[in-house]
């Protein structure tokens, strides 16, 4: 399994964190720590775009990070339209980007 480059050294500030774990994003391994949100863990790997939009096929990522803008929607363990900024990471979690899916089509894969 291919791993995303780990920018942990720079992106993560020093200080204590939860236990190390990993989840996958579009099949790639992502290192993370208990207590992080999916959005923060992906941000720390250098990943910015989390989905593409249905109408204009444009990339979108986390924007407000407080759960109000719904731009960071991802699929988590098959469940679509989950806000990455509000979703805590879990070991072994399967996260997938939503490619051009609109709200109505946001069902399972």
């Amino acid at each position: 399994m291919q791993s995303l480059p780990d920018f942990t050294d720079f992106a993560r500030l020093p200080g204590s964190r939860g236990a190390a774990l990993s989840f996958t994003f579009d099949g790639q391994n992502v290192p993370a720590y208990d207590g992080e949100t999916v959005a923060a863990a992906l941000w720390a790997t250098g990943r910015r775009g989390l989905r593409t939009t249905p109408r204009r096929d444009e990339p979108r990522g986390a924007f407000c990070l407080i759960g109000v803008c719904f731009d960071c929607l991802v699929r988590v363990d098959g469940r679509a339209n989950v806000r990455a900024c509000q979703q805590p990471v879990r070991d072994g979690m399967r996260v997938e980007s939503q490619r051009g899916e609109n709200d109505g089509a946001g069902g399972g894969p």
């Binding site: 204009r56 407080i66 803008c69 109505g104 946001g106």
Partner: protein, 487 residues
Amino acid sequence: VTARQIVIVGAGPAGMSAAVTLAETGLRATVIDDNPRPGGQIYRQSAWPTDEPAKPDNAARSTTLSDRGTLLRERFERAAGKLEVLAGASVWGLFPPRTVAVSHGEGWELIEAGQLVLACGAYEFVSPFPGWTLPGVLTPGGAQTLVKSQRVRPGKRVFLAGTGPFLLVVAHTLLAAGVEVAGVAETARRRDVARRLPGLLANPRLLAQGSRYLRELRRAGVPIHWGHVVTSAHGADRVDEVTFAPCDGAGRPDGRRQRREAVDTLCVGYGFVPRIELHRLAGCEIAYDELQGGWRPALEHSLETSVEGIWTAGDCGGVAGAVAAELSGEVAGLGVARRLDALDEAGYQRRMANLKPQLARVRRFAQALNRAYLPPRRITDLAQPETVVCRCEEVTRGEIEAAVEHGGNSGRTIKVMTRLGMGPCQGRMCWPAASRMIADKTGRRPEEVEPLSVRPPTMPVCLGDLMQPRQEPQLSLSPSPLPCSSN
């Protein structure tokens, strides 16, 4: 339906303060907040509790906002035995008069509140411009959340733009986190701020804190571009460059003097908007005040809304900042305590007499700040015809204006014609800008444009979850805009 004597929505400074005030009078409030830990956005705690900053000794020595937040959180935690706290729970509906729909880990339920205190806070206003939807462009509050709560640096080289003292707060946070701050473009001119000095002196401590941030940023060599606006963000899949230019008082850029800066992250925000979805569902009367972030509930001095038994505290009642939020939480808490006879009239009047001048003073300060850092009148003109305004439904400025030309003139008509506001954010992100565009196009003021309607669920909830309530559903619900399924 479960019943509770008092429900408080939000555990930021306003909600915590209301809860603590009520606990002191012997009343037990139920506090609902969608974050795992109390504090709200402003006093957001790190996800890992171990290396919190040193605690201040007492209130008298407390000078900074974060000290104030620590003290309030401690009071809230000490009162925990006298409270019921539902953390990580989202309120997604309100059914008149005072029943709230709450979803949490185990499903959802309806809670009928005897008295309801809405302390839902505010969110940031970002005026659309070319490139604002690119990944790597985020709100200043978002950057603050990444650093404070998640201990993640938002980027290596970050540019900040917009208006308001919060930009300096975030720039300071980033600097302390070892991030290179490439610059701050503030649409206000220095003289706009200097002109408000008399009002700003109403809170010398906060004024001093602001000046200190400014000094530290200058010392670190961070360029503060007063009277400048970011006009576009560039990049293919993520932002890698920004263009900014000097602007006039209305926010119109001088294209001949534009500059570019290579960055990996752009934070942009033009102040805050009160969060009033629940007020609207409750049928509370609303009023427009540009100095308090736009639409806000109409309030009595007691901070009761036009609906009996629904009170408001903090920024959702009008943006005035954390200190005002804490004081207003106390005012609302006292009002509820008086209504429930846990406090006699003399006691109520005595405490209000003490609180009112304090609240008036911090509000004077907030008004002066908000006046100095008002979003410029033509800021929405940064959006080009092909610029997306409604991020959810990808509705452009050109489409909004075409709809206006075809007779659209209100939230309702524009929504039907363009789908603006129909997505999961329900217009929270786009309406402050869209209403200005519609107003400009129709020669009216933003408050003369009838706002988008609000319907439950205000936050998308899973249809599957709705079918499995912990309590029997008593109401028919409009379908969720975001169906979700599991496999």
